[in-house]
């Protein structure tokens, strides 16, 4: 049986060997996790009030993305995130304003309003690869990023994150296979949150664990308590170090639970057992880490309150600002298809702009996202 690494137990007590992490990094991790909690909550409300079209709950899984991201060096490492990885962006200091711009798809969104909410893309302060809706496609891409590092003799590592459902995708198979063969400096992080929309893990795969799937590719697999940010940190840190030193890839399974619907359009009561949710509520990763930091004397109630206050205000302000920004210009429908404009796109762009010029700009804006 695959073992599960744990350092802080659900009560916040230290039960394993804690990794050495600087005080300010620990606090940064806590701040990132709290930011996710606030940002997520705000996005749910924005969606319910019709201000944004869609979001992806991050409730309950904050430790996975933050613990993993905290091990990376933004100078040389890359992240190939999933859509449920707000924490990776927050830890690396991507601003809430930028993230809100994507949530609103406004004219200052880095994606120019072309993607749905939560499909973030950033170059700075860390390479944060363009999130794609098709599941699993980014795994071989991450391996390619890592193989380019090998060829450039850089020290970087690529961290790629995906869900339990993602293990069934084609990209999982080809990504891990290539990584194993070429010993690519890549760390595969599976956020096993028990569900792929309504599909429970046992209908996703009959394997004993996700970690064990590494065997099929000659890649060591490690399982950690995904609600324990230090356990995630330690496992990913070791894997990153190994990859950086030429030791090849690792597959890490972080066991957690999606504590909300799949997305703002999902009603999990159709398929999730309420008792199970109650059990998992007791394992909350933010509370657990907070207890730990209290016990270590690194944080106190007042600090938590001040932080919550600050984040809540900051995020509300960012939402307000993002909502006020104009939508992208019509020309953004046509730019970035290629680096330069082929003739037929010039014609289409000009016709489109002409078509709407002088006409009443209001077009049908209905449509609700179902998923």
């Amino acid at each position: 049986m695959t073992e599960t690494l744990q350092i802080i137990n659900p009560a916040g007590e230290k039960v394993g060997k804690a990794p050495r992490v600087k005080r300010e990094v620990l606090l940064r991790m806590y701040r990132a996790m709290a930011s996710v909690r606030h940002f997520d909550d705000r996005c749910m409300k924005l969606q319910r009030t019709g201000r944004i079209g869609f979001s992806i709950p991050n409730l309950g899984i904050e430790a996975v993305s933050v613990g993993a991201a905290a091990t990376l060096d933004p100078e040389c490492d890359w992240i190939a995130p999933s859509y449920r990885d707000f924490g990776m962006a927050f830890f690396h200091g991507i601003s809430v304003e930028k993230m809100m711009d994507t949530q609103f798809g406004n004219g200052e969104d880095h994606n120019k309003g072309r993607q749905m909410p939560v499909h973030f893309t950033f170059l700075d302060p860390i390479r944060f690869l363009s999130i794609s809706s098709p599941i699993g496609t980014h795994l071989p891409q991450a391996v390619g990023v890592a193989m380019a590092m090998q060829r450039k003799q850089e020290k970087g590592v690529c961290l790629v994150s995906f869900g339990d459902g993602g293990t069934s995708s084609l990209g999982f198979h080809s990504g891990l296979n290539f990584a194993g063969v070429y010993k690519a400096p890549v760390v595969f992080l599976c956020q096993n949150n028990q569900w792929a929309i309504s599909c429970p893990l046992e209908k996703q795969t009959a394997s004993e664990s996700i970690a064990i799937k590494g065997e099929a590719y000659g890649i060591p697999g490690v399982r950690v308590d995904g609600n324990d940010v230090l356990a995630v940190y330690r496992a990913v840190r070791d894997a990153v170090k190994k990859a950086r030193e030429g030791g090849g890839p690792t597959l890490i399974e972080a066991v957690t639970m999606r504590m909300g619907g799949h997305s703002t359009s999902d009603d999990p009561s159709r398929y999730v057992d309420q008792e199970l949710m109650e059990e998992w509520k007791l394992k909350d990763p933010l509370k657990r880490f907070r207890e730990y930091l209290f016990a270590e004397g690194l944080l106190d109630e007042a600090g938590v309150e001040a932080l919550d206050q600050e984040l809540s205000e900051q995020i509300q302000a960012a939402a307000k600002a993002a909502a006020a920004k104009p939508r992208p210009g019509l020309e953004t429908i046509f730019s970035d298809v290629y680096e330069t404009f082929p003739a037929h796109l010039q014609v289409q762009r000009d016709q489109c702009i002409q078509h709407f010029a002088g006409r009443d700009e209001s077009v049908n804006e209905e449509g609700e996202f179902p998923l």
């Binding site: 079209g53 869609f54 798809g105 406004n106 969104d109 309003g113 072309r114 993607q115 749905m116 499909h119 794609s132 809706s133 098709p134 599941i135 699993g136 459902g165 993602g166 069934s168 995708s169 084609l170 792929a196 929309i197 309504s198 599909c199 209908k203 996703q204 795969t205 359009s265 999902d266 159709r270 398929y271 939508r327 992208p328 019509l330 953004t332 429908i333 046509f334 298809v337 037929h344 796109l345 289409q348 489109c352 078509h355 709407f356 006409r359 077009v363 049908n364 804006e365 209905e366 449509g367 609700e368 996202f369 179902p370 998923l371």
Partner: protein, 325 residues
């Protein structure tokens, strides 16, 4: 008779065939207890059990590959691909396998399978929840491609698709899933594959369309009638492959002015085939250029999707252009 939405008609079509024929099965992501992300399969697992309507792992290659095997061994699987945008991991199974099985085996094996999938814009889904990929499939000999535009046809065509001896890609216009209700007969009836339908008569011009563009074209035809007093014929193709070529050529010849409409990008889109067919077999009847109104040759945007999608204004403009030529 009861008034159903398009997605309810799909559900009704599935239920009708599952009741009648024990070999009809439904499989796909979230089609079980959740009932599908659009609720097209709602209640089927409860009524028919897990053996006949079941959730699959997240693998479109698996869904279609397994569906093919089941179809070769006596079942009539109806595979759901959650969004047409996610069909591409199964492209090889569809194009290389399902479409070619009867041919390559000299007729020894066949694949009576349906692939249902919602397509098109209108839900703020961006690049990957909005695409119209019909042209990728209509180029594939051995496949049939069907797109209904209303609840009545949706149920009737789906029943025909399930009964068809060959693989059918059944694309459902998600923008119309709940756009309106229509009287739909109870129980079994069918609308034949391969036959277009004229939804509005007219001789001054003809607009060819399908799926979610049908109401858009009907509105445009109405505007032209109102504004110019000219009568535009609206032809809903319903089956894209095999195409009802006679219906297309007859209408083109009768009207002499043609507009072709779809949401998908223009370049090498399905509309090109319609134009080409007419340019080869009816060009001497043409009194104006054959004009296409389509999505732009870009990926599908998000915030600006309603500027991307053809609307009644763009279709009206094109009709005016051919009428005034």
């Amino acid at each position: 008779m009861s008034k159903l939405t398009l997605v309810q008609a799909v559900n009704d079509g599935l239920r009708t065939k599952m009741q009648e024929d024990a070999s009809v099965l439904v499989l796909g992501e979230d089609v079980g207890p959740k009932g599908g992300v659009f609720l097209a399969t709602e209640g089927l697992t409860a009524e028919f059990g897990e053996e006949r309507c079941f959730d699959t792992p997240l693998s479109e290659d698996g869904i279609i590959g397994v569906g093919i095997g089941m179809a070769m061994n006596g079942m009539r699987p109806v595979c759901e691909i959650q969004f047409q945008d996610f069909i591409f991991p199964a492209f090889d199974q569809i194009v290389s396998e399902a479409a070619k099985m009867r041919y390559r085996s000299g007729g020894q094996y066949s694949v009576p399978m349906v692939i249902r999938t919602p397509y098109g814009g209108g839900i703020r889904g961006g690049l990957y929840h909005s695409q119209s990929g019909e042209a990728y499939f209509a180029h594939t000999a051995g496949l049939k491609v069907v797109i209904p535009s209303n609840p009545h046809d949706a149920k009737g065509l789906l029943i025909s698709a399930i009964e068809d001896p060959d693989p059918v890609l059944f694309m459902e216009p998600k923008a119309l899933y709940r756009a309106f209700r229509q009287e739909v007969p109870e129980g079994k009836y069918s609308v034949p594959l391969g036959s277009a339908q004229t939804l509005r008569e007219g001789d001054d011009a003809v607009v060819f369309c399908y799926g979610a563009m049908v109401p858009v074209c009907q509105e445009a035809a109405g505007r032209i009638a109102e504004q110019k007093g000219q009568e535009v014929r609206v032809v809903d193709l319903r089956t894209l492959l095999p195409l009802d070529e006679d219906a297309v050529l007859d209408a083109a010849k009768a009207c002499g002015r043609v507009v072709v409409v779809h949401e998908a990008p223009r370049f090498c889109g399905y509309g090109a085939e319609l134009s080409a067919l007419i340019a080869e077999h009816a060009i001497e009847y043409m009194e104006a250029p054959i004009v296409r109104v389509t999505g732009f040759d870009t990926p599908f945007p998000n915030t600006l999707e309603h500027y991307y999608l053809p609307d009644a204004r763009r279709v009206t403009d094109a009709l005016e252009r051919v009428l005034d030529f």
